[in-house]
């Protein structure tokens, strides 16, 4: 599935992550901003990628702004962003 509608979920607040999905046809590309990127960047990207795979998303550009989110929050925000995109998208 290719993301057709831009969408976002989450927040730029501590323990949270803002996930923005953009349409793309070049596979899944992740642009991550995080103060803990050096320590946990690969882990965060892996959770985003796996969650998108499980949701059946094969192509999108993900802009992720992390503020120290745990895996369960990253997963939840990605799922919500995908659902919102499928529902028509909401990009604010």
């Amino acid at each position: 599935m290719i993301i057709q509608n831009p969408s976002c979920a989450g927040a730029m607040e501590s323990n949270d992550i803002l996930i923005m999905l953009h349409p793309s046809e070049d596979g899944v590309q992740i642009q991550l901003e995080s103060k803990v990127k050096k320590q946990f960047g690969r882990r965060i990207e892996s959770v985003i990628k796996t969650t998108l795979e499980q949701a059946g998303v094969t192509s999108t550009v993900v802009i992720a702004r992390d503020k120290g989110a745990l895996d369960y929050t990253i997963k939840a925000r990605v799922i919500t962003a995908v659902n919102r995109s499928l529902g028509g998208g909401s990009y604010e």
């Binding site: 323990n15 949270d16 369960y72 939840a76 799922i79």
Partner: protein, 297 residues
């Protein structure tokens, strides 16, 4: 009654930081709130976040409750259908009336069947917050065999009654006594409304005392700072526990000697006194999770 909850702490359902730290507060039960604590445009996000939290964390020994949105809204049914798959211990049904309880019961029945969960393992607490709810509380209780108790929502109730909520809470006297009596009659828990001024711990202590004196079994909290006063208020005093242990031990001895009535420190102990002592120990057992009655020597 399955378990005794002195405290139920509300946790906003779209706040990852509060959710992941919820178990450190030692509340007897946690209420992950998808209703009032979540703005309309974040209802979907909160539902997913709480689902992932239930999948990921073990909040034990706190019991996990999820307050869904009212079942006559566009979010309510979806909340139950999504959250139910992650097996919360209890669904808190807001704006409870017999119809809402019946709907929730039927949805949970389907979820348990589809997911191979034990039948009726997901319980219900009815959040009564209207004059109609108070008056048809019996039908609400009878509306589902899953109902474990009632929580009184004081703010909405007083709004519905068009009366002012005061720190003294006199305006809640009827609702509290009616619901406490009803819950006692059916062996259910009655959880009192939260005290909304989180900075007034003296007022909270008074409010807890009032709730205990009217028969509440626990109280909801909206801030972790309120838990200590609530726990203190709902626990029997140490002197009462000591007295109860002595009564139960002496009763067992008297029974072996064929006596139905005896004196302890010059005061008569008969069946009702024994029952009260046993109740105190059971209450402490439920809170501390230890067996006291069998260990009394």
């Amino acid at each position: 009654m399955n378990r005794f909850y002195r405290s139920m702490l509300f946790i906003p359902g779209n706040n990852p930081g509060m959710i992941q730290n919820a178990s450190v507060f030692d509340a007897d039960a946690l209420i992950f709130d998808l209703e009032d604590a979540v703005s309309i445009d974040e209802k979907d996000a909160a539902r997913v976040l709480v689902s992932m939290a239930l999948e990921t964390f073990d909040f034990k020994p706190s019991v996990c409750i999820v307050r869904v949105n009212p079942l006559d809204t566009v979010w309510g049914r979806e909340d139950v259908l999504q959250i139910g798959k992650y097996h919360p211990d209890i669904i808190l049904v807001p704006k409870a009336d017999p119809e809402a309880i019946g709907t929730c019961h039927a949805l949970l029945q389907d979820i348990e069947k589809e997911n191979d969960f034990k039948p009726e393992s997901i319980r219900i607490i009815a959040l009564i917050e209207s004059a109609y709810g108070v008056e048809c509380a019996t039908e609400i209780i009878k509306g589902s065999s899953r109902v474990d108790g009632i929580l009184l929502g004081g703010e909405d109730f007083t709004a519905d009654m068009q009366i002012r909520r005061t720190p003294e809470g006199r305006e809640l006297f009827y609702a509290r006594t009616r619901l406490a009596t009803l819950c006692r009659a059916y062996g259910l828990q009655f959880i009192d409304t939260p005290y909304t001024d989180v900075n007034d711990l003296e007022g909270l202590t008074f409010d807890v005392r009032e709730a205990v004196s009217l028969g509440a079994t626990g109280k909801a909290a909206i801030n972790p700072r309120q838990l200590e006063a609530i726990h203190r208020g709902f626990e029997p005093m140490e002197s009462d526990v000591h007295w109860a242990a002595e009564v139960v031990a002496t009763w067992q001895q008297a029974k072996e000697e064929g006596k139905g009535v005896f004196a302890l420190h010059g005061k008569m102990v008969d069946a009702p006194v024994f029952a009260r002592a046993e109740k105190i120990l059971k209450q402490v057992e439920a809170v501390r999770g230890e067996e006291l009655i069998n260990h009394v020597e």
